[in-house]
């Protein structure tokens, strides 16, 4: 009933983390940290659901093959059907593996968080965030529709922002959170652009349909921009050099976050995307150049920086950067044999890295520090954690019979060929793996072995919640390696088929006789061991080198942000200079330009002969026009501002009369009221502002303003005459006239349009009226601060004394 045969169960599995997230704060209030056991039911249910795909599914359409036998399950749900957007999800080898990793590791993370943050006042909130993140990540890997994918992609960025900034009272946390959000969010925009270009090229929003027309995308002119944009999204998310800096900074988050986001999930989203798109965009020269190059640089940079650190979590963070580089580099080859190694490494890395992060957190929690140089000899105090750490490190170091060993074996077997590209790749892999070997053992061995050191807290074994995760994951690393054959059939074959885009079978063996891969493994281990033994000297050397370079992308990020702020500030100061006169001059000058340019460019100025001659006008029409002119002359000649405003009313009433004469009583009525109220309100405002009584503009300024005003007037007149000279499309007005009484029961068509035909427009407009009213009331009531700094702008200087006088 809750298995794959029931599509509702699938959507329930997708929603389960969000439901649990909504309940988390409440459960935490009643159960305290033990709420973790209840909340962990959500990921447990997801694991259960997805395990169901590993057997043939007895669905309504008949018996479908299991995912492990190459089955693919597509769930479609219309979302915005008019745009072809659907909440469509695909379960295949790739998404299935990711879904199991996310929910399986998520299960232990929820428990671990319960133990790690026990007694924290915001633990309920933390559960909420991490479960929302789980839901976002699950949706991301399962989405088949690119819009759905993008929504989940952004959701992971936002929830990870919340998680990284969880200790929001610490400035470093806030900086790390904003940094992660800007880097991954910016990358998300690139990805969106890339995905939209893909949709334009292929005419579909479905990833699986795009895969079917892969040759067309690769041949299209948009291929290069598509590839660069999509990789921009993937590289920022997966912390590829030079965007790697946000990941180590994100270690400010509580350890459960690091263990979850930086092992199996968040950072793997980029890797997932690269793997998902390998059949669609991959196997081109550009793909096989960019990915391995960036991947190898990231691998080596990450591994070198890892050795530099003394903080356990930072070491692990940099090795994660290195591992991500490794995965990108291997996937970038688009070579089935090499990707076989990448598939194994993907699973192996998720298992051992999550375990090691949790171990590091447990050490920190129990011993009070995670500085490598302060730790030692904890194995007696923390035997279970030490055992889990050792197993995970053995897998990370690639020693038999762990799954990490299989991964290393098969990646070497795939790359060990005597051409230049393979040699470069293999060399990078050996160096990177050796350094990661050393870093992994430093994290797992140094704190536990050697002489006992005094730690800030007297260490003892953590509770079940803290060691359940590391022990299980480390044990799985061992079991996955020992049962190499079944691992290959059940996990790797479907994963590999999905990444390369065609069905394939693999046979994985723990021992295939002595070959070049074994030799390279031995070299790696020997090199890794020597680095481990000389770790302190290596660290000092790297530190010296980094000091010598002095600049890094992390500092570059700060420089970029401060330059951005300074630039925005300069632009804002230029545009918003704070003088009303200036704003009005610019507005009307632009209006004049907007009127004149099209009329001139397209030669649409009306013929002078089209203008009706004065002799056609009746006596009273002329009288009204004269009244308007008198009003305007009065404005121009007025001695003070108040007279000018009242005089402006004369011209307004004249216009209202014109409306009346030409058969628009409604318009005329409104014009009368608006004119009256404008004069009243303007007069009230002016009496409050102690402006100069007289116009203080210089002669030249008056002339400039006059020219702009006349240009606007001529432009409007020209536009109106041109428009009136065109044949009038009367369909709308005929429709309104015809239907006003029968269907809208009103003879006043203007009112019927306002309240009935265009009711929604009016609703929006009155909303704007209320908001504007609120803003005006707030502004009028605003009391100036007495200690306001003196401003240079004349307009503000004029207003300030008035406001003080009013108080």
């Amino acid at each position: 009933m809750f298995g794959p045969e029931n599509p509702t169960a699938f959507y329930l599995a997708l929603l389960a983390p969000f439901i649990a997230a909504a309940l988390a704060p409440l459960l935490h209030r009643f159960l305290g940290h033990r709420a973790a056991w209840v909340l962990a039911l959500a990921p447990a249910f997801i694991v259960f659901h997805f395990l169901g795909y590993m057997a043939p599914v007895d669905a309504i359409e008949g018996v479908l093959p299991a995912v492990t036998d190459g089955g693919r399950f597509l769930f479609t749900l219309p979302w915005v059907p008019t745009l072809g957007v659907g909440a469509d999800f695909l379960v295949d080898g790739l998404s299935h593996t990711f879904a199991l990793l996310i929910s399986g590791i998520g299960f232990f993370i929820v428990l671990y968080a319960g133990g790690y943050l026990k007694g924290h006042e915001h633990l309920g909130r933390f559960f909420s965030f991490i479960l929302m993140f789980m839901g976002a990540m699950l949706g991301l890997v399962l989405a088949d529709d690119i819009i759905t994918l993008f929504v989940y992609w952004e959701l992971t960025s936002i929830t990870s922002f919340l998680l990284i900034g969880f200790n929001h009272s610490a400035e470093r946390s806030r900086r790390a959170a904003i940094q992660a959000l800007i880097v991954t969010g910016g990358g998300g925009l690139l990805l969106l652009a890339g995905l939209i270009l893909m949709a334009i090229t292929t005419g579909t929003l479905s990833l699986s349909e795009m895969q079917a027309v892969a040759p067309a995308i690769k041949a299209s002119a948009l291929y290069v921009p598509i590839l660069l944009l999509v990789l921009g999204g993937a590289f920022t998310k997966s912390a590829q050099f030079p965007f790697h800096f946000w990941l180590p900074n994100a270690m400010e988050a509580p350890t459960p976050v690091s263990a979850y986001l930086h092992s199996a999930t968040m950072v793997k989203a980029g890797v997932y995307l690269v793997m998902r798109l390998n059949p669609t965009l991959g196997d081109t020269v550009l793909w096989s150049t960019i990915l391995p190059v960036f991947g190898c640089v990231t691998l080596l940079a990450g591994a070198i920086l890892a050795l530099r650190q003394t903080d356990l979590k930072l070491m692990l963070a940099y090795t994660t950067v290195a591992s991500l580089g490794l995965l990108v580099a291997l996937t970038g080859t688009s070579n089935e044999d090499i990707i076989k190694g990448a598939s194994l490494y993907l699973v192996a890395h998720a298992l051992f890295k999550a375990a090691l992060f949790m171990v590091a957190g447990t050490i920190d929690h129990e011993a009070g520090t995670r500085d490598l140089t302060l730790l030692g000899g904890l194995r007696k105090a923390m035997p279970i954690t030490a055992g889990a750490a050792l197993l995970a490190a053995l897998s990370m170091g690639g020693l038999p019979p762990f799954i990490g060993f299989l991964a290393k074996e098969y990646m070497y077997k795939g790359t060990a060929y005597p051409d230049l590209q393979s040699i470069l790749l293999t060399t990078s892999l050996v160096l990177g793996n050796a350094m990661m070997f050393a870093a992994g053992f430093a994290v797992a061995l140094r704190p536990f072995f050697g002489e006992k050191k005094e730690t800030p807290k007297s260490a003892h074994e953590g509770p079940l919640m803290l060691w359940a995760g590391p022990v299980t994951l480390a044990a799985l690393s061992l079991i996955g390696g020992l049962l190499a054959g079944p691992t290959g059939d059940v996990v790797i074959a479907p994963l590999l088929s999905a990444i390369i885009g065609e069905d394939t079978s693999v046979s994985i063996h723990l021992w295939e006789g002595f070959n070049i891969a074994v030799l390279l493994s031995l070299v790696t281990i020997a090199l890794g061991t020597s680095i481990y033994l000389m770790l302190d000297r290596v660290r000092a050397a790297i530190a010296g080198l980094l000091d010598f370079i002095g600049w890094g992308p992390d500092r570059g990020f700060d420089q970029f942000i401060s330059a951005l702020v300074a630039g925005s500030d300069a632009i804002t100061r230029r545009i918003q200079f704070g003088r009303m006169e200036g704003y009005i001059t610019i507005t009307f000058a632009l209006v004049a330009v907007a009127l004149w340019v099209p009329l001139t460019v397209f030669g649409e100025w009306p013929d002078l002969s089209d203008i009706p001659s004065i002799s056609d006008a009746t006596f009273y029409e002329l009288a009204v026009v004269c009244l308007a002119i008198v009003g305007i002359m009065a404005v121009l000649l007025a001695k003070n501002r108040l007279t000018a405003i009242v005089s402006l009313g004369i011209q307004g009433f004249a216009v209202a009369l014109i409306f009346m004469l030409f058969g628009a009583p409604d318009l005329s009525f409104t014009q009368f009221m608006v004119e009256t109220l404008s004069v009243v309100i303007l007069a009230l405002v002016l009496t409050r502002l102690a402006l100069y009584k007289r116009d203080h503009r210089s002669f030249w300024q008056s002339m400039t303003d006059g020219v702009i005003a006349i240009a606007c007037g001529i432009g409007f007149t020209g536009l109106m005459l041109t428009v009136l000279g065109r044949p009038f499309d009367s369909r709308l007005s005929e429709f309104f006239t015809e239907h006003a009484v029968p269907i809208a029961h009103g003879r006043n068509i203007v009112n019927v349009i306002i309240v009935d035909y265009r009711g929604l427009d009016t609703l929006g407009e009155i909303g704007v009226v209320v908001i504007a009213g609120l803003a005006i009331l707030a502004l009028v009531r605003l009391k100036p601060k007495r200690s306001a700094p003196p401003t240079s702008s004349p307009a503000q200087a004029e207003v300030a004394p008035v406001k003080e006088a009013a108080e």
Partner: protein, 139 residues
Amino acid sequence: MNTVIFRALAPYITTLMMVFSVFVLLRGHNEPGGGFIGGLIAASALAIYGISNGVPAVRRAIWAHPIHIAGAGLFISGISGLPSIFANVPYLTGLWTFPTILGVDMYISTILFFDIGVYMVVLGTIGGIALTLEERTDG
């Protein structure tokens, strides 16, 4: 502006304008008028009363703060579109009923309530701004 004549006449003018504004509002569907113009007339009435007899008198007379009237108007207009959901037609589609009350044929519609909402928004907002500005004049 505080002449005796003006002050003596202002209450009558205001009353007349208020009544007229409601008249304009209600007849708006068939003759020139409607909620917007009615609201403007009512706002002017408030402004005149405020100028002649002082803003506190106006505030006492209308009970509610003008911006509350505007908010209530927006709310009424917004929910006047909701009954159309039960008639299975799009939001804000006009629904009409023609009852005979006390021997008079009436036209009652959701449109009427929508227009009343518009009237209140314009009255509240414009009236509120005018009153606030006048208040500052007094101070």
